[in-house]
Symmetry: D2
Subunit: 429 residues, 4 copies
């Protein structure tokens, strides 16, 4: 979802005229990938000319189970065909009941998470907004601590805790009530963890407004695949608990198994106060989002946060089926971790061949960081020309970020990385 | 989407336990309508017990063409069955191309609207946020004028221009940069239009921050079916133009034909600078939203406002089909207006039988206002028990609001109103 | 203190070079009155060339007892000569004790005002800031209601409740947490008092943030000598009381007898929750300010609001002496009211001779409003050339405002008004 | 000006009743020093009982030339006796001309400072507010960088850049548009200077709003006598210049010779963009303040920032005389530095006798920091009982701060420190 700042193209000659004549200049991906997509299956997308692309982008993390996963597709078609209710706001429906029961049975209960579940509207920004509102309501404080290079969304509340200066400028008003703190390893390991954060919290003369909450991604996808160490996350959780600050983990991109376990924070053994989920929760790329929070924090008044598309039943159908399919056993987690290691090894190899390139990531969120950001952009462009969809992220778009579907076969993983290796090689040559 | 303040129920004994044990207290509609919905067709919903409900609520305006409209359903099933791409962010896709071309051909061009189209994320709040950001960016000003009893959404930017104090309190921070002005007829016709607004705009000593934009609904649905007269809307548009303030019409609920014409502002003959659409734009209750604005205002940087679910192709498919089906000719507009008159006549009749009750609305957004708000709530409850879904709105939930699908047959309209009449009669008896 | 927008002069050729070479462009009065002042006595000022000016400006209301009043001067000289302590922060001093006891004995007790007294720093802006902070702390709410054309000061909190758009622009940040309401007679008497204000307060859907306090001037001096009727003030006080909103009367310019009684609100028979005083409270033009509030509102923590110049003992000395001299009996009030009537009669006469000119004011705050603002400015300039200091005020500087010392003799009042009449006559001729 | 949190006293039994019955609970110094002051001369204050106090507090830095300095007193008495104008807003006066010319001749010109001079209202908070407004107006940015444990004043703009949490809470609204950075040595020298500040400035993804200005004290008096090294100040100035951020030095307490040179930043050889002065600028404890800024930054519109007490002529008289008396030659600077060394040596000696006590300060702003804050408060109380006025500062009031008049004799300096040593000895015993 980064800005295509580094890939300058002369227009979209291959796209229908309506894109340049009618769609707003804000359009972004169609500029980098000037093809009209038609079909999609698993890790593959086909454009109208029949050209096939291996998709290591996967809806920016919204397609962890691949495009049009047939296991999820059938119940979706059955549901729609039989005229089961599609749109229901927050009424009770069979599909919603089944999703809630499945989510509790397969996700919450086995992990000992005594969370309530809110349907805050079907996007990541909606769930982040709900999380921030709830944290402020519960604590009676206004300020939120965010982290450098965080990404949480484009609505005003979510944008105020987002780092990217170009996107922040889009707000048109000063974004306040949020203070950035250094993310793990921001200073290359030189500086002790939290020494600035803890010091200003404990110093009554520091001038820092006492925060309601900390919002953190365990791995910053849009921020350039920055990975927080588990000990850093534990330290952060302990810091929040000691000082009665709520900990919000934004798991919109890294949740639903992207890093291996269902929640990306499981590896650290922490229990956030509030968790946001979206992107891959429906499993089929359908809009859906959840806000989870400790039962004691459920101070909402009925209807205090509402929205028209909270009851998107087709998404509940595929979401429940995805949970039943992939999360009954540990197999999926193990497969993801194994695939992640495989990808990582290959990336380390590529990095070894190119000075100024380093591998980074966790689980199946892996990538390469380029000292020269222009190379990252050019290599991503060369990959597209070779049939691989990968995007850049990071403040200077200096990181090629791989988010392949978790269901991608080992062969396809290898093929994609072969293409990437070649794209980098021709770029730096 | 109002708060069910007036209908107090002892719990949700008829709902599966997971709703009270796992879903957040914020849930709302399932409290008033404690049934688990299963099937839906046109204007009818059936619960798991086989009980049928005539739906005069229609997804809070998201189902103008009825539930699971078969004309839209078939292309949706075809699209999904054939593995056409479902999730595509803002890449070009066949479905998106067809939607854009159809929208331009059937909606923009015939109305002489030289608008650009933004896909801001698939909800009403997303499009309102995009509209406010753009207005601020274009003008370099921060302040927005909203109206008493406005409803624009739950995210921070949208909430700041929303009137409802309970929902505003949910923000947990002071909501600033917005100033409310009196909506049309706020003082019962006693006060001249805009005399306060114009005076403070023109008085350099008034203390009003010069606004970037005015955001207005032509009919306030959530605010209690308050209808702005066309001359008031024209006066507002002229006022904005003279003073170089952008006019945003939030047509999320009243657009897509709810009041007759596609855009609710057409009757007034005005051309807003920015228009928001969502709810019924997909035609099938699928999450989708658009932000439209005059071509000259398209100052967005690529990617400056983004989001994961901007490319929800199933919604594009049904949206294009809905436009082709209902908006090629004037028939649908005429039918809607005729049905609206029919409903209005019946409501005037009911109001005539009950002191303290008055009819209000425009097109197929009609309702009854009760001097005693408790009666409105109780009557809505009695209607539910008789198989009719209607909700209350207004600051005290004093208005029963009818938003039947525009495709509802005359017979069903009559039946529904018969039920409503009876529900009111037993309530006041 | 208005901006000299209407009097354009070619520079300050008569002033020492250091004013244009070293003093900031923000300087203002020395542009309209390009003379270097040397001596001052009572209602007269003499410049370095020996030219005398009759001063109907009186330090913008800071010199109600005239320049260098000999009754106050002697104790001031005695105090300084005998090395009594001059600067003492908020330590106890003899001068402070005497002032507090005198203020309680002559001002608070006779009027039945059970107020606590805060020394917030020695300027009007300081006391307004203290008043707003206290109101917010007491109520836990952030929003303040101000009035059109209000003037309360230049610091950030005071500026946010000030109307003038040029001065507001000086803030460089959006001024929030304040909403303007129409001052009395803002619509020429056509609109019922408070109908907008009360309606938005009582309407839970209005979108108005519930205010902590209302801040009001009983007569808006800088705003153009707008006079609130006593019944309007009473209505406002009752409105605040019914809705538990604190009422702050900013009496910085109109207090200390300017309108007759010591507090300008006495005529209305209301008891504000908080009162600000400054300008003439020291009696000698020395910096001093007070914040008064009902005893129950004194929730300050020791030192929570501090400042270096809260213990300006020379000001306490002259302040106590001024109270003892002028406020033991009713004579001073009666004299002021009589003089005010005299001035008003003459102004009504002048207005009668000139179409488009009207008289306005209360007590000894009187003036003339010109339909053509340029005439007001030119006439003030012509008055200066004839030896009379008067300033313009109002959003367009369309009002000539007379604030003569209350001690001005009847002869001087007549002379000054003769000059003004001539200045207007030559201007409009 | 710190909060007397650590010295709890049973009331003010020795003060006249009017202090507890009428003055607000916000009163502070009179609680710690429960004596009614009468006379004052040089470094000595005498209370009504005839008891004498050696004053090492000096009006919190407002009395650098001592109480009622006879050299300044005579021209003040002459001015007042001869009825020269006292109050003049920003008209030209003889006293103001002389002050401006003297300030330019003795302060600005010899230091090569091409500054314009603004009279922003007579307090430190007023000048800080003017500085912040100007910085925002010039840059078009809103955000300000402040430092941990900064103190800049109690009005809303000044308070937002102040660190103390108790004082911030007094605002009653969230204080925004300011971000604290670590002051020099905040981490005990472990962390490299500015590494956090520079990193977030340069990282376009950091989430830090690009600041208009940095506001800094070269020595934080209220913050606990934290001394910034000259190399840190130089680094800060270079950082600001490279990134086009304005540098504001708040010299309200440390200016006018407190650290030796007239401006405290001279030692570092830097030239701030904006400088604030107040406290000792009048030389006699009379309210007065200046805002100085580079000529190119003088973008004020006439009257855009105004105020009633900007023309406090008695203060101009003593200010000019103080400059002529003390700042024609280098003698005063050298004396101050010598006295500062003398005080420092003694404090180092005391610290050597008491574990957990360290000496700190610069020039004649010297003090002792106590690991056990309670000891600092108790020792200050014991000093008062022995006839020495010293206050505590720092976030926990853990520092005894000495700000003796710069004119204090060496004998008095020694006597005062003898008392302090004894007070500490009896406290820790």
């Amino acid at each position: 979802m980064s800005t295509p700042a580094t890939i300058v193209r002369p227009g979209e000659p291959d796209l229908p005229a309506v894109y340049s004549s009618v769609e707003s200049e804000v359009r972004s991906y169609c500029r980098n990938w000037p093809a009209t997509m038609a079909h999609a299956q698993g890790s593959w997308v086909t454009d109208v000319s029949g050209r096939r692309y291996l998709d290591f982008f996967a809806g920016a993390g919204a397609l962890n189970y691949g495009h049009n996963n047939p296991i999820l597709k059938q119940p979706l078609l059955d549901y729609l065909s039989s005229d089961m209710i599609v749109h229901s706001l927050d009424m009770a429906t069979e599909a919603k009941t089944r999703f809630l029961e499945t989510f509790e049975r397969l996700i919450l209960r086995p992990r000992g998470l005594d969370y309530k579940v809110q349907f805050p509207g079907p996007t990541g920004a909606n769930t982040v907004e709900a999380a921030l509102k709830l944290a402020r309501k519960v604590t009676g404080r206004e300020s939120i601590i965010s982290f450098t290079n965080a990404f949480h969304g484009m609505t005003l509340g979510a944008l105020s805790v987002t780092g990217n200066s170009m996107k922040r400028a889009g707000a048109g008003i000063p974004l306040v009530h949020a203070t950035p703190m250094p993310y793990d390893n921001y200073f290359g390991g030189v500086t002790e963890d939290f020494h600035w954060f803890e010091r200003v919290l404990d110093d009554s003369g520091s001038g820092l407004n006492r925060p309601a909450a900390v919002i953190v991604e365990t791995v910053q996808g849009e921020g350039g695949l920055n990975v927080a160490r588990v000990e850093w996350l534990r330290g952060l959780a302990e810091l929040c608990q000691r000082r009665e600050i709520l900990l919000i983990v934004d798991d919109v991109q890294m949740g639903c198994g992207r890093t291996g376990p269902f929640f990306s924070f499981e590896e650290a053994g922490i229990v956030p106060d509030i968790v946001t989920l979206s992107k891959s929760i429906s499993g089929y790329g359908l809009p859906m989002a959840l806000t989870l929070f400790r039962r004691q924090l459920d101070v909402w008044t009925p209807g205090e946060h509402n929205g028209t598309f909270r009851g998107h039943n087709p998404a509940f159908v595929t979401a429940a089926k995805a949970l039943e399919t992939y999360w009954e056993t540990e197999t999926f987690v193990e497969d993801t971790l194994a695939k992640g290691r495989r990808v990582r090894e290959r990336l380390v190899g590529i990095a070894g061949n190119h000075p100024g390139v380093t591998a980074r990531g966790r689980g199946m969120a892996q990538g390469l960081k380029f000292e020269d950001a222009a190379v990252a952009g050019a290599a991503a462009g060369a990959a597209f020309e070779r049939g691989l969809l990968v995007e850049t992220s990071g403040p200077a778009d200096e990181v090629i970020k791989l988010l392949p579907p978790l269901t991608t076969s080992e062969e396809d993983l290898d093929s994609g990385i072969d293409i990437l290796a070649e794209a980098i090689a021709v770029t730096v040559a």
